[in-house]
């Protein structure tokens, strides 16, 4: 058997020197004590952030027009979620890179039809009121071509939507039952009933907030609050925390890609960032096996500082 050549970044020299007393359990106990004291002190001095969650009720009362417009987008199928694609529906193009399109391969697993789930079904569960019932019947019995025509008419005047006396007003007569539906939807939202309706679709017990969260995230009110707190994606938001607290600083590299091209311009930006991070993560985890990279520490020579006493003894 021939002896393999010694590779300094893979093999370790055999140590024949002295051993000295070292109490690892005492070291551990001191570490626990120090961390415990430090943690309690930091908690006492700085506390922790706990910004109240928003609800559809708080949103629709704080910015009624934004809510009503968003509800209009959900109803007419033009919101971000309505056109998202997998895993929620088939209305969007999946993110991809070349032929790699896992989002598309997986398909719809959490089906969301914004028109019905966010507007029509909650309204249908309301106690019957003649105007609402008539509007719902008009919507439900219309052909999808008619619904689209109403939607197109709505889209034209959406920016001019106003809200007064509990009613949504639109300067058009071509939008069919949309203004009436949005009026009731907005009333429902402002009373808090829509929050309940969206959650109760899962039955009595629920721990799943997918629908109300998606609805809220389609509006501009929510994103506006987040931007003020520097939480938006293009603000390195992933690292940040509400208030003046440190956040998930360890996500710096992940959030960095979102700041630069092509990641922040591509429609498949999320997929590209994930792909990049998976490769970089593999490089980190598999570092000991990567020639070149694994020689960096020997070249950096920081180890000479760490083991300076050892080298001093040798000299």
């Amino acid at each position: 058997m021939t002896k393999k050549a010694f590779r300094p970044d893979v093999d370790a020299p055999e140590y024949k020197g002295a051993y000295v007393p070292y109490d690892i359990i005492k070291e551990g106990a001191i570490a626990v004590l120090v961390v415990l004291i430090l943690t309690a002190a930091l908690a006492l001095v700085f506390s922790s952030p706990d910004e109240k969650a928003i609800t559809i009720k708080t949103w629709s009362n704080a910015d009624t027009v934004d809510f009503a417009q968003t509800a209009g987008d959900e109803l007419t199928g033009t919101s971000a979620v309505a056109g998202y694609g997998a895993p929620y529906n088939n209305n969007g193009t999946a993110q991809h890179w070349g032929f790699l399109a896992p989002e598309h391969w997986v398909g719809v697993h959490i089906p969301i039809n914004t028109t019905n789930d966010f507007v029509i079904n909650p309204l249908s569960d309301q106690p019957a009121q003649p105007r609402l019932t008539a509007a719902l019947n008009e919507w439900k019995s219309a052909s999808s071509a008619t619904q689209s025509a109403w939607g197109a008419a709505y889209a034209k005047v959406e920016a001019k939507l106003t809200y007064s006396n509990g009613q949504v007003h639109l300067p058009t007569t071509a939008a069919g039952p949309i203004p009436v539906l949005l009026s009731y939807e907005t009333q429902m939202a402002r009373s808090g009933a829509l929050d309940q309706a969206l959650i109760a679709q899962n039955g009595f017990y629920t721990t799943n907030y997918t629908k109300p969260l998606l609805f809220i995230s389609d509006g501009t009110y929510f994103a506006g609050l987040a931007s003020k707190q520097h939480l938006a994606g293009d603000q390195w938001g992933m690292m940040n925390e509400t208030g003046q607290y440190p956040g998930q600083a360890w996500l710096w590299l992940y959030t960095f890609w979102y700041q630069i091209s092509p990641y922040n311009t591509s429609a498949s930006g999320d997929f590209l960032v994930w792909g990049t991070m998976m490769i970089l993560t593999a490089l980190l985890v598999l570092l000991p096996f990567i020639p070149g990279l694994r020689s960096v520490p020997r070249r950096l020579k920081i180890y000479r500082i760490i083991w300076r006493e050892h080298y001093a003894r040798q000299a």
Partner: protein, 208 residues
């Protein structure tokens, strides 16, 4: 049963292997090589200590459930301790990682120690993330609605729905802590089996 039969038992064989690989004096050594003389060595233990406090405070939070930390000032204080111990945990882990990198501590058959460390880092990031989305406050609403896009893009969002609080809370308080603890256990056992990595050889005048 004859002695030979006993020796052939799976139980005996496993015991022999364990004791051979990790005798008590290797598991809990009372000495270290003289080169183990730097503060950089304490950050692995500090990371473990912080992980312990994270789990302790998390366990206290679990006792009274998710509403507690919003409404009670004691609950909020424990929540604060949980957050700050997490910050210390990552802080110590990163310094530990830089230290082990500087020493190329994967040398001499220790590559799996590095790999398990790296995987523990990833599991910890996921544990931290699921914790952030389980806060049940504005921050968790925002983080979950943002993060869904990245995870959906990988196809994973269909099975790992960050908007589903029940699912995220389970991952955060059961699956990922379990993974972090088991991985840390493996990591530290590997360190004990192999012993602390010796310094690079400075091949100058004296070669022994």
């Amino acid at each position: 049963m004859s002695n030979a039969q006993i020796e052939r038992q799976w139980t005996s064989r496993l015991r022999h292997r364990v004791v051979e690989k990790l005798p008590p004096e290797k598991l809990l050594p009372d000495t270290q090589p003289a080169y183990v003389a730097s503060w950089i060595y304490v950050f692995g233990v500090t990371t473990m200590a912080a992980l312990g406090i994270v789990i302790l405070t998390g366990t206290i939070l679990a006792l009274d459930g998710p509403q507690w930390w919003h409404s009670s000032s004691l609950g909020h204080f424990i929540n604060s301790m949980h957050l700050w111990s997490v910050e210390i945990f990552f802080f110590a882990m990163v310094v530990h990682l830089w230290g082990k990198f500087s020493m190329a501590a994967w040398r001499g058959g220790r590559s799996m120690t590095w790999v398990t460390g790296g995987v523990t880092f990833l599991a910890s990031i996921l544990a931290g993330f699921t914790g952030y989305v389980s806060q049940t406050n504005f921050d968790s609403q925002w983080i979950s609605t943002q993060a869904k896009d990245g995870i959906n893009a990988t196809g994973g969002g269909a099975f790992f729905n960050v908007l589903n609080l029940g699912q995220m809370l389970m991952w955060h308080i059961v699956l990922l802590p379990l993974a972090a603890v088991v991985l840390t256990g493996l990591h530290v056992i590997m360190v004990r089996v192999k012993g602390v990595v010796p310094p690079f050889e400075e091949t100058t005048e004296v070669s022994a």
